[in-house]
């Protein structure tokens, strides 16, 4: 059990590349914090610095109030789970799990009990005498977890521990991991590139991009109140829609029609001294088939008409994709986001696309026009230059 504090921690490689820039983060005792971001954003480097596998260039790392910068990994009393699991191939499962205890010169009898208890928790009892090569991916993953748990360290560090599992198993292991963390209540720092994993597992999420912390907050907070365009676009699947908009006399001109500016939005924009050309973001679930919306609700929102280009039915809901006239929203942050998430490689035919989530009851058909309802108050408005969210509740 421990509190981990990163105080302006930075990492600069000898070639001058800045991998992590002044990360400030306090992981409370027993908290489950997720570092999420696209590959190369510095999340693994950050984790390795906490582990002691990489040196800290500047700043201070404290575990339970003690400076750790100069301590070797073995003297930090933290356990790590690797994406590759890093199981020792020449040892049985039992020996793998006992390894940290044996190094700590724990009494043989205690080692035996602890390993067996842990194996019980992780459902590994009948595999104890097998070697890693003869285990399935899920079993190996559990052995890696077991090796971390068995010595009751101050904290767990996990580097994409579920990424090598197939999708279905990953979902199950995610739940199992949540249960385990609840039970052990050990401070955990968890790295992933998968925003779904981040949303479902973490008490708090740290979004990193290019070595810089974009936002730290609870999953729902990040979802509802993204600090900037990067976080807004990175968290959520399908991603938030971004539209180029202009503000004119209390009205918002958008590619999906002209809507009145709500009092809340107007106040925020005035406070922020916003420019005229802005970017509005709205999530897919804030749209609905207009024919399914009750009259009085409909009055409060706006409706636009467009042709369904692609309709994807997931059973419980349907995603309708539309093509919008004109250019899409432009911002450096959006370009960065598209290149790091790979969506820059998806052909759009030069048009801007809009994704909406409709209830399964919709009778929308591909290639047919339909009325779509949305609530303009749901718009989040961003500054295209800085990417900052201008509509945050403060």
């Amino acid at each position: 059990m421990a509190e981990i504090v990163l105080d302006a921690v930075s990492k600069r490689y000898p070639d001058g590349a800045l991998a992590v820039s002044e990360v400030n983060l306090t992981v409370d005792d027993g908290e489950f914090v997720i570092l999420v971001g696209p590959s190369g954003c510095g999340k693994s480097t950050t984790l390795n610095m906490v582990a002691g596998l990489e040196d800290i260039t500047s700043g201070e790392l404290r575990i339970d109030g003690t400076r750790m910068n100069e301590r070797a990994p073995k003297d930090r009393d933290i356990a790590m789970v690797f994406q590759s699991y890093a199981l020792y191939p020449h040892m049985t499962v039992r020996e793998n799990m006992a390894f940290p205890l044996r190094l700590a010169k724990v009494d043989d009898k205690v080692v035996r009990t602890k390993v067996e208890e842990t194996a019980e928790v992780l459902d590994l009892v009948e595999h104890l005498d097998r070697r890693p090569a003869n285990l399935s991916g899920g079993q190996r993953q559990r052995v890696a977890m077991g090796r971390a748990i068995v010595r009751s360290p101050k904290a767990f560090l996990m580097d994409e521990p579920l990424s090598n599992l197939d999708a279905k198993l990953r979902g199950q292991m995610r739940t199992a991991l949540s249960r385990l963390q609840n039970r052990l209540a050990t401070t955990t720092l968890y790295v992933t590139h998968d925003q779904t994993e981040a949303m479902t597992l973490g008490d708090r999420i740290v979004v990193l991009q290019a070595g810089i912390v974009q936002q730290i907050g609870a999953p729902q907070e990040l979802y509802d109140q993204p600090a900037n365009l990067f976080v807004a676009g990175f968290i959520g699947s399908p991603a938030m829609n971004f539209l180029p908009v202009t503000v004119e006399q209390n009205r918002l001109h958008t590619p999906i029609g002209e809507v009145p500016l709500s009092d809340r939005l107007r106040r925020r924009l005035t406070d922020a001294d916003a420019p005229r050309d802005l970017i509005a973001g709205i999530r897919p679930e804030h749209f609905e088939d207009a024919s399914l919306v009750e009259e009085h609700v409909r009055e409060e929102g706006a409706v636009f008409t467009n042709t369904v280009e692609v309709l994807e039915s997931l059973g419980s809901e349907k995603y309708a994709h539309f093509a919008l006239e004109g250019e899409g929203a432009r911002s450096q942050q959006l370009t960065d986001l598209a290149s790091v998430t790979g969506s820059a490689d998806v052909p759009t035919g030069g048009r801007s696309l809009l994704v909406t989530r409709m209830s399964a009851a919709t009778e929308a058909r591909e290639k047919q026009r339909m009325d779509i309802w949305f609530d303009p108050d749901r718009f989040q408005v961003f500054d295209p230059d800085s990417g900052r969210n201008l509509t945050l509740d403060t």
Partner: protein
């Protein structure tokens, strides 16, 4: 049953490859058989060459070893059964040479293993001037053994050699048995450690970085990581390196030939064989010795291969 039998007697009949399943194998298709025929034809030239240059000489030396055959007395050629073997194995020269060979082999290979491992780690971990370090390390291996042996010879010769002057003023180390063997081992180690290092470096590359990082997190210090993770994981590579070097060292010839020419009981078995076979022109006894060397080498190889079987960590014995 009968269908299988007739299939077995088919004319193109290259011996069917072992299939694991017995009986009831359907006749292979036309394409499959053509492919097999092609495989045999492609292998045939190489197989014939191997038989000509290795198979026949082996058989011929076994045949010679069973005869009394001395070129100084060509008329006395006669089949003598195993009496040549009795003569060699009952002779103290053979056993002296054998002991010297074993000492040189064991000591030099052990020293090479330790030094080679240090070199390999240095080469593997070097970040600065990596190419230069590797090249410099490999220089001894690139020098012809005889040339290197001559420079050792002169270095240890009193009067001309700086080493003899420095370490043993007034003495001639190459005329003393123990010192000679030590110098032979030194020359061997100097010459072949880089080779050992190369093989071990390939083994170091087998150890995933994550494994060492995991061990560091689990609480292992540098030495513990090396002993408990690196060495077991690279064990197959270590065994290959040891096998190669042991086989080579057991057949040591050129260093001894130059340094002492076998004087003062410093002959290796190869040296002794050479003296009997080429210098003494005793084909019978010489061939007997080469067959014995061949057997010793085969035993060494067999032991190592047995060790390999239990060395590969991926093939745990629990299936």
């Amino acid at each position: 049953m009968s269908a299988t039998d007739s299939a077995r007697r088919e004319p193109p009949a290259p011996p069917p490859p072992p299939t694991g399943k017995r009986g009831g194998n359907p006749r292979p298709s036309e394409g499959k058989r053509a492919e097999r025929r092609l495989a045999w034809m492609l292998c045939a030239p190489a197989a014939l060459v191997m038989v000509a240059v290795t198979g026949w000489p082996i058989v011929y030396s076994v045949w010679l070893s069973l005869h009394r055959y001395d070129l100084r007395f060509p008329g006395d050629q006669e089949f003598v059964g195993l009496s040549n073997y009795a003569a060699v194995l009952g002779n103290s020269y053979w056993w002296t040479a054998f002991t010297v060979t074993v000492i040189i082999t064991v000591v030099s290979v052990l020293i090479e293993l330790v030094l080679g491992m240090l070199l390999a780690i240095t080469m593997y971990r070097t970040l600065l001037a990596r190419g230069l370090v590797r090249t410099v390390t490999l220089v001894p291996y690139g020098i012809v053994t005889v040339v290197a042996a001559f420079s050792w010879y002169y270095a240890w010769t009193p009067g001309t050699g700086y080493l003899a002057e420095t370490f043993t003023p007034g003495a001639a180390p190459l005329t003393d048995r123990a010192a000679s063997i030590a110098i032979i081992i030194l020359a061997e180690v100097w010459k072949t450690t880089p080779f050992m290092a190369l093989l071990l470096m390939a083994g170091l590359a087998l150890v995933p970085d994550d494994l060492l990082r995991a061990a560091a997190m689990d609480g292992a210090g540098g030495w513990q990581r090396f002993v408990k993770v690196t060495v077991p994981v690279m064990k197959p590579a270590i065994l290959v390196a040891l096998l190669f070097r042991t086989l080579d060292a057991f057949r040591i010839f050129d260093n001894i030939f130059i340094l002492t020419a076998g004087a003062n009981d410093t002959s290796s078995v190869s040296m002794l064989t050479y003296n009997n076979l080429i210098r003494g022109l005793n084909l019978g006894i010489g061939s007997t010795m080469s067959v014995l060397i061949f057997l010793a080498v085969a035993v060494i190889a067999f032991v190592f291969v047995k060790l390999f079987g239990t060395a590969a960590p991926a093939r745990g014995g629990d299936r």
